[in-house]
Symmetry: C2
Subunit: 264 residues, 2 copies
DNA sequence: GAGTGGTCTAGACCACTAT
DNA sequence: TAGTGGTCTAGACCACTCC
């Protein structure tokens, strides 16, 4: 197990070597999903490296999405199958049935929890929000800021804004579990919608790390979403931060034919 | 500058504190894009912390996409505007004009380079590739494995497969700079295409790290893309790894109306 | 009390490159 | 030769939870 014994064939670093060994074991099924990996201290003894090096190996595996780590509990194999599909595009129905995600979670045996980090409220739009919603700066907008979790395992942070003239009455109306866009269709007759999403991937900021309960090495997918109604109005702008290791983002689209040679 | 002086108001760690200071300076414009940040050793002196802590701070900034780091050169502010837009969906034209990305790069003054990591070749499809291309296992497929770079700064790794009966002749045909899908349209009359992409975000594997020349803390966006022609055939399946800090992925789609109350 | 991961220290050597 | 980031060591203390 001593790394120096294998040093002959090794060009990579010690941490990378441990990564490759553990990864092979995981992919070969020798370490099934949800089983516990050796702790940092155990690994450092087994491979005769310092704890920081064993730690780096586990952090790399975490970053690649192969394991999940928890203080106290330990490090666990988290197969790719654990990722949640977030499907958009042709046939997308997440927006139509805003509760669909929650339903899917329930089917999988999770208990979905939504925590409002702020009380939903009407606020004056700053320049940025106003521009996104195509409203004058200072317009009243309905704001929601919430965290979605399953069994105390947070997966998504959502900050969303809506024009107050369409959604403001929500503050005094109880719509229960009715998805927001169903309510919009019923109340205001807005049906077809068009959505645009801009995604980036990055590591979490300290604040997001705390809220999403992830380690400094865990990537997130941050995206803006703008939703237009069929009358051309922007009806939602949202900034969403999702724990990357839990998600597969799926998009489908058509590319229309073009007249051949119509462009250079 | 000594962190312990500010310890009173500080709940976060020392690395996080340095991150917040530097981030504020960057966002306020005190540290303009492309300017050099203090080195790890300088920071560790300025803040009276160990080099590893200063290092962690810079790595966190790198992970968040605010700075880029290079051995020898140092750490540099890399504004968000440096990210390249990758636009898909309605109006998407990346596939139609496969050279568009390259053109955009040229306009920005970059010199695009494509390195074929393997000679393009006809290979027998293994079970996975065959399934993706909807062909029998063992079918001949045309494979390309290439790395895209600008000025020795790699940004994307592409492993792509095509049915040999449609694309095999490319091995002996010189199509020059003609985008692949333009050639397909001209040669085989396949026009409208449908695409599906599945994205995940994660940290790079050691191999990807080496090929893309990024540090262990830099996230990547890995995605599969399947492209169908208008006759229902799969004409491309690709696995793409993109340096996350260089990309914004943009998707646009419509959500069709539904009959109200047609679902629960 | 024992064990987990999270953070931090004060050193060290390396490969690489610009001067 | 000097300076950069990359890697590694052998310790340390912390917060937290389970027993």
């Amino acid at each position: 197990m001593d790394i120096d014994d294998a040093e002959g064939q090794m060009e990579t670093g010690k941490a990378d070597y441990i990564v490759e060994e553990l990864k092979a074991q995981i992919l070969e099924g020798k370490r099934p999903e949800r089983t516990k990996l050796p702790s940092e201290r155990e690994l450092s003894e087994q491979y005769n490296v310092s704890r920081m090096t064993a730690r780096r190996a586990l952090q790399i595996l975490e970053g690649e999405g192969l394991v999940t780590r928890h203080p106290v509990r330990g490090t666990f194999v988290s197969g790719i199958r654990e990722r949640k599909h977030e499907h958009h595009g042709i046939g997308a129905d997440e927006l139509r049935t805003a509760g669909s995600f929650v339903k899917a979670m329930k089917q999988e045996g999770y208990k979905p929890v939504v925590v409002f980090l702020e009380q939903p409220s009407l606020v004056a739009a700053n320049a940025e929000i106003a521009e996104h919603l195509q409203l004058p700066t200072g317009s009243l907008v309905y704001k929601r800021y919430r965290l979605q979790s399953t069994d105390k395992l947070p997966y998504r942070l959502i900050e969303s804004y809506y024009p107050a003239d369409l959604f403001g009455e929500l503050l005094t109306t109880e719509i229960g579990d009715t998805p927001l866009f169903d309510w919009l269709q019923e109340r205001h007759g807005l049906t077809d919608v068009h959505a645009k999403e801009d995604l980036i991937a990055r590591l979490a900021t300290p604040d997001e790390r705390t809220r999403l309960q992830i380690s400094p090495n865990a990537p997130v997918v941050a995206f803006e979403r703008t939703v237009w109604a069929n009358n051309g109005r922007v009806i939602e702008w949202a900034y969403i931060t999702a724990v990357a290791s839990l998600y597969i983002f799926s998009y489908e689209y058509n590319i229309p034919a073009r007249t051949y040679k119509s462009r250079t």
